[in-house]
């Protein structure tokens, strides 16, 4: 069934139970989410990069940083989607049925004004020193 990722979920849970304890050993460019919207599919505006949560805020952040940690959990969705898309038997139709795709669609929608109308599209990119690599572009989604 498209989108069934029970095995992947078990693997992720196993990682939490049997941690690898490797932090920041490979520092690669992180995927970025951009969103554009417009009144119609032919009239979409410019790509705008989703804003991450605000910076650490001293002693308060030590105790309580809910928006920052949510932003990190949301960013992990981008990496999950790229992992899922990289599966060898993945087709364009199946990509749009992936749970990770649906969640990133919601994340992209959350970047737009609450009462926005028309349609929108999102993409995932990797920013290198001198270029931007486009990894995934969604279909146009009605608001």
């Amino acid at each position: 069934m498209p989108g069934f990722t029970g095995g992947a979920l078990s693997l992720r849970l196993a990682r939490a139970l049997l941690p690898a304890w490797r932090f920041f050993d490979e520092i690669e460019p992180a995927p970025r989410l951009s969103v554009r919207m417009g009144a119609a599919a032919e009239a979409l505006g410019a790509w705008e990069t989703a804003k991450p949560a605000g910076p650490s805020n001293g002693i308060i952040s030590l105790l309580f940083r809910p928006a920052g940690n949510l932003a990190l959990a949301s960013h992990a969705l981008l990496e999950q989607l790229l992992d899922d898309v990289a599966a060898p038997d993945m087709s364009a139709e199946r990509v749009e049925q992936l749970v990770s795709y649906k969640l990133v669609t919601r994340l992209a929608r959350a970047q737009l004004p609450a009462h926005a109308s028309g349609c929108y599209q999102f993409r995932l990119t990797l920013e290198h020193t001198a270029s931007v690599e486009e990894l995934l572009v969604s279909s146009v989604i009605a608001l």
Binding site: G3, P19, P52, G54, P66, G68, L103
Partner: protein, 264 residues
Amino acid sequence: VSTLPPLSGTLTLLFTTRLLSLALVLQALELLSVRRAFSEQGVFAWSELRRDFARSPARPLLDLLLSYRGFFGVLLTQLLLALLMPLTVGTRLGAPCTTMLLGTVLLVGVRFRGSYNGGSDAMTLVVLLGVLAAQCGYPRLGLGYIAAQVVLSYFVAGLSKLRSLRWRQGSALSELVVARQYVVPAPARRLLGTPWVSRLGGWAVMGFECAFPLSLLLGRTVALGFVLAGLCFHLAIVGTLGLNRFFWAWLAAYPALLYFSEPG
């Protein structure tokens, strides 16, 4: 240092459960304050996530526990149990309370497709499992598991960095502070963007992490030094990358390390 009383297993378990309680209370409160994110209007809507369990016989139970209301209840339960846990140490309620807390932390992991906050979730689980073993009558096994994992957490992280050319060359920290998923305060970004600071900082991190096993081998004074250095290390990470949950999870693991750093 030598005048400090030795840490008994009971005292170590008490310190550990109090610090773990604090970590779990903060984790629950943080998630409760962003509850819109796991409502049906939010990014982590259960109606999407439940498709991960399309073939699972546990789906009806997960629907009950991980839908918005159910998950809200799970977090409130975690909050309540975390507040109670230090009071249950040494009583018959200790093991059931810790088991239920373990259940709530695992449910949070399932709700967020494996983990909510990576390594900090893993260390929280490690400390919970160790406390559970201790509460079940195996204090040395439980505390030993925590101490071993906290040493491994630094040592493995240090070795894996040593294998990386960027870390060895000294550019890793300067690249990390401009990574898009972290919003590093401008002064820290400027400081770590300076090549010699990045190089020195990188080697200091690798040296600290790789040397961490010495905390178990060279006695209590050395262990206390490593713990203090670790606290500074995690505070610096909170100040730069904002990873506050790591600070509290690792803090909860330190009493076990100090316990095993004492001879005999």
